[in-house]
């Protein structure tokens, strides 16, 4: 029985997310790690092909970045404009400072109408807010209708990816889950058949729902409307049927104008899955006749991130997931190893801002290779921000004393060239004279899977002095 990635030792005894431990547990199953890596690399390659078909792709990224930077640096103005126009369109606009306020607002809307059956389309914000358990504890039936979200919901897991929530699961595992919860035949694992079963199961929930909740990809200040992008059409189905529609959105999702949508929609799906555009890009500018439409604008740490000179640009994120698909660490450690709603490079930049101590290992779950920055459709300098978080983690003392000591020691040596040379000589001789197992132990973690470098008889400096007569 393979270990479910949700059961990885993500959170250690200290209450801190231990990414290295979770990643090591994930890697214990080599075949699964390779399958996960290959699945995501496949999506990354689709993204490359899709991007290559767009003339001026890099200019489009630069424009998207510029629009977001403009919007974020005028966010108060655009929020007020959006609120005014949305209200004029017949929407009720709510404001929530944090997750708890968001959940209370949603529950308040439901209970005021006596609603008890909620269907949701994908919303990472509600995952971030812990909305499902909050409502379930208050007697509301919550059904995630995105197929991947429904799969992980039935399994009692969180999504492992923001676009492909069940990317960590094999079809056989989905089959077992559906057998347990939806009564599909034991052993059924064919994706078409499983999706058909989910379609029937969810169609009943759609018809019975008295409220639908969707996320928002783009909220347009100029018109007071918003856009929801899905491939399944599940958001559309919910919106067309339920008498109440609640749309939850982080305040950073505001864009100034309708024309900006052309830029973002051309980038979003290509970056996310390699499609030209999602199957459904739905524009909502008011409630259907007889429907109540609520928009909940949520802060939950976003204004704090906006205030951070080094990190505010992370709020440009349009949640395409491209940085996860390309990240060699994400691909080989799985989304759950990050212990955060948004995993991967962008999660490792956003989440430490919520609780630096808890998420202190995330900025180190990277080689700073920079591939994330190069795929990001809004050009977030992810590797630079990861580097900066590392400095903040250390400054704030969230690193083990051992690590601090070793680095301090190394720095002291590296500052003193003569001492460095002396220790270098000792190390080189040590590696030569020690029996291999001892040398391995000396090399510690390095030596568990790797040989140490073969020690040369002399350093370059020594050679240089002898052959080029360099001054001492």
């Amino acid at each position: 029985m393979t270990q479910r990635s949700f059961e990885l030792p993500v959170v250690g005894a200290s209450g801190r997310v231990d990414h290295p431990a979770a990643a090591a547990a994930f890697n214990a199953d080599v075949a699964r790690t390779e399958w996960h890596d290959a699945s995501l690399w496949f999506v990354r390659e689709k993204r490359d092909r899709a991007a290559s078909t767009v003339p001026g792709w890099e200019e489009l990224r630069a424009r998207a970045s510029a629009i977001k930077e403009h919007a974020l640096t005028h966010l108060d103005e655009y929020l007020v404009q959006f609120e005014a126009n949305a209200t004029r369109n017949g929407m009720q606009v709510h404001w929530a400072r944090d997750a708890d306020e968001h959940n209370r607002i949603v529950h308040g809307i439901l209970s005021a109408q006596g609603a008890s059956r909620l269907v949701k389309s994908k919303s990472m914000l509600t995952e971030e807010c812990g909305l499902n358990p909050y409502l379930e504890a208050r007697g509301i039936e919550v059904v995630d209708t995105d197929l991947g979200e429904r799969i992980v919901q039935l399994r009692g897991e969180g999504p492992s990816h923001i676009v492909m929530p069940a990317i960590h699961l094999r079809k056989e595992e989905v089959g077992d889950t559906f057998h347990d919860h939806l009564g599909t035949p034991a052993g059924l694992a064919e994706p078409n058949a499983l999706a058909a079963a989910a379609r029937e199961h969810l169609r009943q929930r759609f018809l019975a729902a008295d409220c639908t909740l969707t996320g928002i990809n783009f909220a347009i200040a100029e018109t007071g409307g918003f856009v929801v992008c899905t491939n399944e059409g599940n958001a559309d189905l919910g919106m067309a049927l339920a008498p109440i529609h609640i749309a939850s959105v982080g305040i950073e999702k505001i864009i100034p104008r309708v024309e900006d949508l052309g830029v973002f929609l051309r980038l979003l799906a290509r970056s996310a899955t390699g499609q030209a555009v999602t199957a459904y890009s739905t524009h909502v500018h008011g409630p259907r006749e007889g429907q109540a439409l609520h928009v909940v604008l949520v802060d939950n740490g976003r204004t704090r991130q906006l205030a951070r000179e080094e990190f505010w640009r992370s709020l440009k994120c349009i949640r395409c997931g491209a940085c996860m698909n390309t990240c060699p660490i994400y691909r080989r450690s799985g989304g759950h190893s990050y212990g955060s709603t948004v995993p991967g490079p962008i999660g490792s930049v956003l989440t430490p801002g919520l609780d630096l101590d808890r998420y202190a290992t995330l900025p180190f779950a990277s080689t700073l290779c920079g591939s994330c920055t190069a795929v990001c459709p809004v050009m977030i300098d992810l590797d630079t921000q990861l580097f900066r978080w590392r400095q903040r983690v250390v400054e704030n003392g969230h690193v083990s004393l051992a690590k601090r000591a070793s680095i301090d020691g190394a720095t002291r040596v590296l500052d003193r060239p003569r001492l460095f040379r002396l220790l270098g000589a000792v190390a080189r001789i040590g590696l030569r004279i020690l029996p291999a197992p001892l040398a391995r132990r000396a090399a510690g973690v390095w030596g568990r899977t790797r040989e140490a470098p073969v020690p040369p008889p002399q350093s370059f400096r020594a050679w240089y002095r002898r052959h080029r007569g360099g001054a001492a």
């Binding site: 640096t73 108060d76 400072r97 492909m164 999706a195 399944e232 059409g233 199957a279 704090r304």
Partner: protein
Amino acid sequence: MSAPERSARDAILAAVREARPPAVARVEAPIASPTPAGNGGISRTDAFNAAGIAAGADVTVCARGDVARIVDAALGGARSVLSFSDVTPFAARVVVVVNEEDLVDDLHAAYARIDVRAHPFGAFVAGPSKTADIEQSLVIGAHGPKALSIVVGRA
């Protein structure tokens, strides 16, 4: 808006004003996106056809007089009049009829032509409902239409 929500609103807006990074000006230059038509001499209809098929739609380009016959055949005689927003999420099959002259090069051109405020609900539909949430296997018809047919009428 309730009193607590009013104070949340004011607190958030105050926090945003406090946090606001130095202003970045809006770029007003038009987007230079070479259109498919201007890129390799492919006609707009051919580009639309190729993109539609790639998205899983069944695209037919025909003389305008034949459009009604094709649509009739596709709908199998169904005649109920429903608004676009009501019908598309439920129908097993959706047929969209479009004039060739209404094809545009890209989304920039589309947004320049339409008024998104004109309807409370309007969607760009690129194909049938689909999902790849189980092991990246593409499944058509996750929730909504299992097929999308586009009939392009040519003068």
